[in-house]
């Protein structure tokens, strides 16, 4: 029991923080938690949430992905050409978009695994590459996304935001099962101790590649939902999401040194981050003071994670084991 708490406390804390912020938000919101308000909130949370999941798959294997935003931009631009027309064309378009995401992820993965380049720099470079391609496709924002599919994905089902259902679906039908597979455990093994993983018979290279591919896949999903919300293509969307996805995973209790944290946590972190920004809408705060306040809250939320270090009684413990 204690062990289960210990191994999940980071996520639990993140979820509690989220709950508090959310109540705060809805209490400041003139119209309260109506389906409409919930849907707006869930939509933008999920976009960053998916970006954070993409980041999670890089971080969990001791990497970092600075191309998340660029992959979103690229897939968003592609979507703005392909996701339109008959149901079949739309479906095909979605598949292409996801395939592109996986490809980008694999390119990152191969540079890291075979090219032996540190993930952070490899993705810094590929990010610039992907962004360039996105700009070729959409020198200025434009194109459009099929409104029907957009509505289906961004409205609600029986009063529950579709995006929220989607998020829960990812956790229950993708993450929890994955955790019980060799791949799922391998991710943690590689991130936690590459040598131990290797000696235990894990194919470190395959796991890394798979992890980056998954990252690319979720970055593409993020780009896709961004497309559903904005119904257009824009090569300029990247920068925010790359840095915020990193902040999000950390808020969600994922350790940047790899091997610790969960997809659920990453999602929660993203939801926290977006809820903080939403708090500004009806906070009645001076407009020019809002960026500062937002920064302070973010720093505070992150610092809370650091606070318990002060309670550590053995200096060596702060280095983790």
């Amino acid at each position: 029991m204690g062990d289960i708490w210990r191994s999940n406390q980071r996520e639990v804390i993140a979820v509690i923080v989220l709950a508090i912020l959310l109540t705060l938000y809805f209490s400041t919101h003139p119209s309260g938690p109506t389906t409409y308000v919930m849907t707006i909130w869930a939509n933008q949370c999920l976009i960053l949430g998916l970006a954070a999941i993409a980041q999670f798959f890089a971080v969990i294997v001791r990497g970092i992905d600075l191309s998340v935003g660029a992959v979103m931009a690229l897939t968003n631009c592609i979507a703005s050409y392909l996701i339109i027309g008959t149901g079949l064309e739309v479906a095909g378009g979605i598949l292409v978009v996801l395939a592109v995401g996986i490809t980008c992820g694999l390119i990152n993965g191969m540079l890291v695994v075979f090219g032996r380049i540190q993930p952070i720099v490899a993705t810094l470079a590929t990010g610039s590459l992907f962004l360039g391609i996105a700009l070729l496709l959409r020198p200025t924002p434009g194109g459009s996304i099929d409104y029907d599919i957009s509505d289906v994905m961004t409205l609600d089902i029986f009063g529950i935001p579709t995006t929220l259902i989607f998020a829960l679906g990812i956790i229950t039908f993708f993450w929890l099962p994955l955790r019980k597979t060799g791949l799922g455990t391998g991710l943690y093994a590689v991130g936690s101790s590459e040598q131990a993983a290797y000696q235990s018979g894990i194919s470190v290279e395959k796991v890394r590649l798979a992890s980056f591919a998954l990252g690319g896949f979720f970055a593409a999903l993020a780009g896709l939902f961004f497309s559903f919300v904005t119904t257009t293509g824009d090569a300029g969307i990247g920068p925010n999401f790359t840095l915020n996805s990193i902040a999000a995973v950390v808020l969600g209790g994922v350790l940047l040194r790899g091997g610790i944290g969960t997809l659920t946590g990453a999602l929660a972190g993203a939801f926290i981050l977006k809820t903080i920004s939403s708090l500004m809408f009806f906070s009645g705060l001076p407009p020019l003071a809002q960026p500062l306040l937002e920064g302070l809250i973010l720093a505070g939320a992150i610092a809370i994670g650091g606070a318990d270090v002060l309670r550590v009684k053995n200096r060596l413990e702060v280095f983790g084991k």
Binding site: D3, I4, R6, S7, K180, T181, G182, L183, T185, G186, Y188, A189, G191, S192, S193, Q195, A196, A197, Y198, Q199, S200, G201, I202, S203, K206, A210, G259, I260, V312, K313, N314, R315, L316, G320, K321
Partner: protein, 504 residues
Amino acid sequence: MVLSSTPVVRLSGVSKTYGSTKALTEVDFSCFSGEVHAILGENGAGKSTLIKLIAGVVQPTEGKITVNGKELVLKNPSIATSHGLVCMFQELSLVPDLSVRENIMLGAPGTGFGWLNSKVVPQAESILEQIDGAHIRMSMRVADLTLAERQQVEIAKALTRNPKLLILDESTSALNSSVVEKVFKLIRKQRELGVGVLFISHRFHEIEALADRISIFRNGQYVETFDNGAFDYGYIISRMVGQRIDDIFPPKKVFNTEAEEVLKLDSYSWKGGFNNVSITLRQGQITGFGGLDGQGQNEVLLGLFGLLKNTAGEIQIAGHSVKITHPKQAKAPDLGIALVPEDRKTEGLVLEQSIARNLELSALGTKGVNALDPTIYQTFLEALELKCNSLDQPVSQLSGGNQQKVALAKWLALNPRCLLLADPTRGIDVKTKTQIYALLRRLADSGIAVLLLSTDFEELIHLCDDAHIFYDGEIVSHLKGSELTAENIIAASLNIQTGGEVHG
């Protein structure tokens, strides 16, 4: 003991070189099913390399490996495991951030990316019970386990892989004798089942107790194989080292109980770690810390080196009561405390940096020491006979024994008043041990006070003037002189009260 005709593994003409290092040269070696085959050799003799070859961790530069008669290329550990070649590595193959359960299932044959096979878990649990590991819960994070507990899990993990050849590379180095005995029971059972066992240890009494046959390696070359008991220690050691070593331990001196006090602890305590520790350490005294792994003895050393916050009780250095809050303060000449930590690879050394850089690191910024003057390390490196190409060689390229010599020398150069050692000879070969023992004796005679934490009671008996045995964070017995016997130490470690001055 019946030997089947075809060996489980046979290495023929196998060589392994790392860059310029020849780890193994032209080795012909076989291990048969149903035998426990011990491998002896100094640090860097090539033992780990040998078993890494068999376990598929590294591939031979030359020569071939045959398994049950079939010649195989063992591209990676999972292939080796699938042929029943199962290894307990010296650097444990457990993933710190995963639970014990997940570690047990991790990489089990046939898993791949697919579903984990949970059948092995109950198996592992029952094995753990048989080796005093019942208290290790499957849900625990490996990072939270002591080294001993990890070795127990590693053993359980290996046995669930139903091995044809079981390899233990110093896999019992952190286990206390009572657990080791139980592990041996299991291993013998495996042997009865026809499993071949390769056993690497630097502890002679263990090899004597377990091995059927013994092979000796020296500088990467196979020397010879003989039945256990065929020769005496002296001979075996001479074959390992290439020279005779008559006394492993230097002769004890009767130390002067009137000598100046160096370190005095008065009911020194740390919540959740240790309690009421009171000891006195005088110039020239070598005091041992004994007991099962993780009874708080290591924490006391950490505390004395300024690594623990809010400790209670009093510390006196040379008669002055002090508060030690940081290693920087601890190493300063006015306190003169040095700590050689438990894990040389992550705590004692910066593996990526050169030997010289590592030596200088603690000397830098210490008053009255010129860190950049190589001569201050020379005497110790010579006394320990460090084996290396040059002081600019990265420490990572040294064998662990030699790594340990660097970890030791870097502190001795500060000529500390009080030297704290956390199990400095774990996984270290007999020759290196004798060198370290002799040096410690010499240092003591020169007036340094030595606090030696050890899991090897031979050291407590033969090297220490007295020993404090820890149990559950307290000193349960203080053994002096003639009281220092294996029986007393083991009894005290298990908190069965016998001879010796017993603490409340």
